[in-house]
């Protein structure tokens, strides 16, 4: 039990129901960012996407996909990774992660949610899109045909998992008098913590976790297929895209979990549930995933360096030595730094949490750059006909909108943690 939160209101754990000043300031800050994003998006809606830095490939020499899609991939990657961790925690009975399961579910929901919105904001006809996708979506099209279905499935699966997994905690909270007890009662939906229910819970959570894993891997792969099956775009076509997406998802999901967990640990003063051992575990996951991913990058670069196609060469050159080299090497450096810190942490005698957090931050930023590098350079430099080189630089609208989307996710998370305990309650907690 959190002791620090008991001074003012001894009733609800982890600050649920209490809106402190610190929380309020942060909330307001993100609300402002969201408002800026909304303003930017309103400009885009009214003027068209001419207000973004996006332009056509070919004669216009631009990139029709840019920051929005890069962030979309990054967001949903984190979401899929978090889903995988949730599934792993349940399937491998990793008790250390139990307090974090709900956090990871919320991370997944928030990132999938804003990932979906990133697609919407990228569209020229967003409202029409919603109607036409549910009416006409074609399974053959990886992006909206199958991927959106994957996204919906992932969101639905995580939501169901979060709901069922949280019923016990909700029931505990519902018994305490508070303004939110009705909500907790609703979330508990009649949970009584009987043996029968516990038994059902075990069976269904195992099956659900399995489904979560499958859905996460399939959906992450599909977003890789969006690019991997495109013969017409140098730098994209390849069998490694889908597995690369899965590994990077795992990696970024873990990194995001580390960062959020560290924030919760310091924000909620929750040293016990989020002890050093949790971070050690997450660090190990990160370490393995980052080494695998670095290996993937190396394989990818070696393969494309030997490509017979001049166009593929051009993209590789742009990445390794050209216009995007700084970003490519920065991202590579971030991955390597992340991996190195993880190794150091794994072998060090003292177990610092901040080391893990720094590694996670390096990796998650590296991953964002990598996503940008996947989307943009093949569009600006990957030309098969003799078009002149293209260029793309995002405008303030795009930064504002992306900032707004991140704010949306953070606000979603912040509201959730005031309505429900963000960490799982201890098993020793009284029975319902």
């Amino acid at each position: 039990m959190a002791t620090s939160t008991q001074t003012q209101s001894p009733l609800l754990p982890y600050g649920v129901g209490r809106f402190g000043a610190g929380w309020g300031v942060v909330f307001l800050l993100f609300l402002v960012l969201l408002a800026v994003g909304l303003y930017g998006y309103s400009r885009q809606l009214i003027e068209g996407e001419g207000v973004t830095g996006l332009r056509d490939v070919g004669t216009m020499g631009g990139a029709p996909w840019g920051l929005y899609i890069a962030f979309e991939l990054w967001f949903v990657g984190i979401g899929f990774g978090a889903m995988m961790l949730v599934a792993a925690a349940r399937l491998a009975h990793i008790d250390l992660l139990k307090p974090l399961v709900r956090t990871m579910c919320v991370i997944a929901l928030a990132t999938l949610f804003i990932g979906g919105w990133s697609i919407i904001v990228d569209l020229g006809q967003p409202v029409r899109a919603v109607v036409n996708i549910i009416k006409y979506a074609r399974p053959m099209s990886p992006f909206f045909g199958t991927f959106t279905i994957g996204l919906v499935a992932a969101f639905a699966a995580t939501l169901v998992y979060l709901f069922l997994d949280g019923r016990r905690d909700a029931a505990i909270l519902a018994r305490r008098p508070s303004r939110w007890s009705w909500l907790h009662r609703l979330a508990a939906s009649g949970y009584t913590d009987t043996e029968v229910e516990k038994h059902r819970r075990r069976r269904s959570s195992a099956l659900l976790a399995g489904a979560l894993l499958v859905v996460a891997i399939v959906a992450a792969s599909t977003s890789g297929f969006v690019f991997g099956i495109q013969q017409g775009r140098p730098g994209w076509f390849g069998a490694l895209q889908a597995p690369g997406f899965v590994v990077l998802a795992m990696l970024t999901g873990t990194a995001a979990t580390v960062i959020v967990a560290a924030s919760l640990r310091s924000g909620l003063g929750e040293k016990e549930a989020l002890g050093s051992r949790v971070f050690t575990l997450l660090n190990t996951v990160m370490l393995v995933a980052s080494l695998v991913y670095i290996y993937f990058i190396v394989v990818e670069i070696i393969t494309s360096s030997y490509s017979s196609s001049l166009a593929d060469q051009r993209v590789t050159d742009a990445l390794l030595t050209g216009e995007y080299a700084w970003m490519f090497w920065l991202s590579a450096a971030l991955f390597i730094v992340g991996a190195a810190l993880s190794i150091f942490r794994a072998t060090a005698s003292r177990s610092s949490i901040w080391l893990v957090v720094v590694a996670a931050i390096a990796i998650i930023i590296g991953a964002l750059l990598k996503r940008y590098l996947l989307v943009v350079p093949p569009l600006t430099t990957g030309r098969l006909l003799p078009y002149a080189d293209g260029s793309y630089s995002p405008t303030w609208v795009e930064y504002a909108v992306v900032g707004g989307l991140i704010s949306l996710g953070v606000l979603f998370f912040m509201i959730f943690m005031k309505l429900f305990p963000i960490l799982g309650l201890n098993d020793r907690e009284e029975n319902v």
Partner: protein, 72 residues
């Protein structure tokens, strides 16, 4: 009974998702040579597929939340 209904919902969801994605939505495969490749065979088939997927997971809710019917 509970398991049967749960299985029914789950299998129903899978079948609905597969049938609507593979048979009712726009055709898969090959070089698209005419207009039929651009239209679902049943409008809103993708919605059905999404509903199917959602059904699969809601089977868990059915399983855990369904009121006791007397089998256990």
């Amino acid at each position: 009974m509970r398991i049967a209904i749960t299985a029914l919902v789950a299998v129903g969801g899978i079948v609905l998702a597969l049938v609507s994605a593979l048979l009712l939505a726009a055709p898969l495969g090959g070089a698209p040579f005419d207009e039929s490749f651009s239209n679902p065979r049943l409008v809103y088939a993708p919605t059905l597929a999404v509903i199917g997927v959602a059904l699969v997971f809601s089977a868990a809710i059915v399983y855990e939340l369904m009121p006791r019917i007397g089998d256990d």
